[in-house]
Amino acid sequence: METVAKFDISYSQSLNVSAQLNISLEQLAARGINHEDLIEFYRTMLLVRIFDTKAIALQRTGRIGTYASCLGQEAISTAIGNTMAAEDVFIPGYRDAATLILRGTKMEELLLYWGGDSRGMNFSINTQDLPYNVPIASQCCHSIGIGYAFKLRQQPRVAVVVCGDGGTSEGDFYESLNAAGTWNLPIVFVVINNQWAISVPRSKQSGCKTLAQKAIAGGFKGEQVDGNDIIGCHLKLQQAIDSARAGNGPHLIEAICYRLGDHTTADDASRYRDAAELEQAWKEEPVARLKTFLVENQLITEQQLESIQQQCSEAVEASVEKYLATETEAVSSIFEHMYQEMPAGLRQQLAQLETQ
């Protein structure tokens, strides 16, 4: 017997749970992350944290519908947004507020979406990004078409697609990994492993020791990163995106984090989740970790922290005001976007609805 192939899966972390950075700031700057970037990382994560808190409050008071919180996913989502180029295409799941905001989606657009208005996915800036994807992992197949289009046109662009730990059990996920490897496409798959698919824990989702190793079956590299460590996430994403852009094919990153909130506002995680586990997860969460690092290393002043907090709160409030001031679409909008030209049967149904 001989071994015909061997594989390994790495785990990396730069900023550990005690907020210790394992490389120097000079080394970090050499890899493209300087002091100002670190502050901007913090600003984006805090903005999304405040947005998320506000969105839940809006749901609780009946001003948006069911909302899927991104609490605990701020680091990986921010890293994706910061490492993608404007001309790349982002293919989201539905907890990707940080990435979308960094790509140009306005917070009021996200609120419109969660408020039950399809115009929220009519992004005005990042016009080629796909809308939120609610059916799990089907977006992975879309990323294959987008990556194939880049390759066909010989464009140095990258598709970045995300799904959760539960999503890696779907057929579309496996079909997509297989295709990405077959055609060596410029795609980065990011599995945001937040440990819970509604009530089903990671341990019951798969017998695989890592989710990253599923990439091996697709014929390309997968690796784990601490998803609560924005610096580690950024460095790994940058490598993967640069590599895909250079024509070296797909890559999978499993970002290990924790869903600190309920699945959605319609869920109650206390029914199935141990309070002690959640308490531990809060000790590892990404926003406080970066803040501690910045404060302990005197990279940010108390005044800056207050100013960022205030600016973020004001930006969120402004977006809420814009959202609340948005008129509901005309009833005709239900019919207008089914086809480029409205077929006769739909015109008839619209006329009937408008006379009722």
Binding site: P131, S138, H142
Partner: protein, 325 residues
């Protein structure tokens, strides 16, 4: 002007459009070197290269889902599902994504894709190769379902489907892939979507069918003519959305309607046509609408498939009863 079979017309339409529109790409299982198991894509890869005409891994959801991604990037994918019996794995991508990308993004992203699949029975094929489940797709808002019934209509309708800015499920009646040849100009002229074609004018009864069953329906119309019954024959062609006007005008003229379909009877396209006539043309009817169709059974394996499919005799009998009502 070349004489073509239906399958040759399908091939010619794709070849023509790939020649004039660089954004058209063809994908599916065995569509490349092999040219498709029915040869629908014969020679396309040699003509247009391995990037624009490509074999996919054996994964139907991927084929449809990646077409959604290609279309979101402005390409026009023409994807082949090898047999309709294998299309169900792709259904999630059709109903959740292809059909509603335009709507979900308020027109920002669209899905100008064609999903081709051979469908229908009558060729002694293995299990899962003979269904007529067009009604499942016709129920989905946001897509078109188109079925040609002759080489010329296959050519013109497929060109129209590829050029259409919205997703089209294009079902090809494989029983008549090579059953007949006719002159097809191959001049890039598309036929209109969303309209029926009246194949035969008549005054006594309206016969409505689509796909391969038009063969039996036209034969029945000839047999009925010998008995002095003047049948109008309508090729539905676009199954979704249905051209109600042509159907209602014909029934207003004839007062009678028989719908011929090889699909299972309940909840089908024939039922939808019946409902349209009942809702909007009841007062023009002189007799009940009758469906001549397959049965609410699994499509039998081939030894019994002829017992499942409507025959000329069954159509003639049904029409006779309607005329006697």
């Amino acid at each position: 002007m070349p004489e073509m079979t239906l399958i040759e017309a399908v091939n010619a339409a794709m070849s023509y459009e790939m020649g004039v529109d660089e954004s058209v790409v063809v994908l599916g299982e065995d569509v490349g070197t092999n040219g498709g198991v029915f040869r629908a894509t014969d020679n396309l890869q040699q003509q247009y290269g391995e990037m624009r005409v490509f074999d996919t891994p054996l994964a139907e959801s991927l084929i449809c889902g990646m077409s959604v991604g290609l279309a979101a990037q402005g390409l026009k994918p023409v994807a082949e599902i090898q047999f309709m019996g294998f299309i169900y794995a792709a259904f999630d991508q059709i109903i959740c994504h292809a059909s509603r990308m335009r709507n979900r993004t308020r027109g920002r992203l669209t899905c100008p894709m064609v999903l081709r699949a051979p469908y229908g029975g009558g060729i002694h094929a293995p299990e899962h190769h003979s269904e007529s489940t067009e009604a499942i797709f016709a129920h989905v808002p946001g897509i078109r379902v188109v079925i040609p019934s002759s080489p010329a209509r296959a050519y013109g309708l497929l060109l129209a489907a590829i050029r259409d800015p919205d997703p089209v499920v294009f079902l090809e009646p494989k029983r008549i892939y090579r059953a007949q040849s006719e002159m097809v100009a191959d001049d890039g002229q598309a036929l209109p979507l969303d309209v029926c074609f009246t194949l035969r004018q008549g005054s006594d009864i309206t016969l409505i069918s689509w796909g391969a069953m038009l063969l039996e329906t036209m034969q029945a119309a000839d047999a009925l003519a010998e008995r002095g019954i003047d049948a109008e024959v309508i090729d539905l062609a676009t199954i979704k959305p249905i051209d109600k006007a042509t159907i209602l005008q014909s029934v207003e003229k004839t007062g009678r309607c028989v719908i011929v379909s090889e699909a299972a009877k309940s909840g089908g396209v024939a039922a939808e046509i019946s409902a349209i006539i009942a809702e909007e043309g009841l007062t023009t009817l002189l007799a009940p609408i009758v469906r001549v169709s397959g049965h609410d059974t699994v499509m039998p394996m081939f030894k019994l498939e002829q017992k499942y499919m409507p025959s000329v005799a069954q159509i003639v009998t049904a029409v006779s009863k309607v005329m006697e009502f």
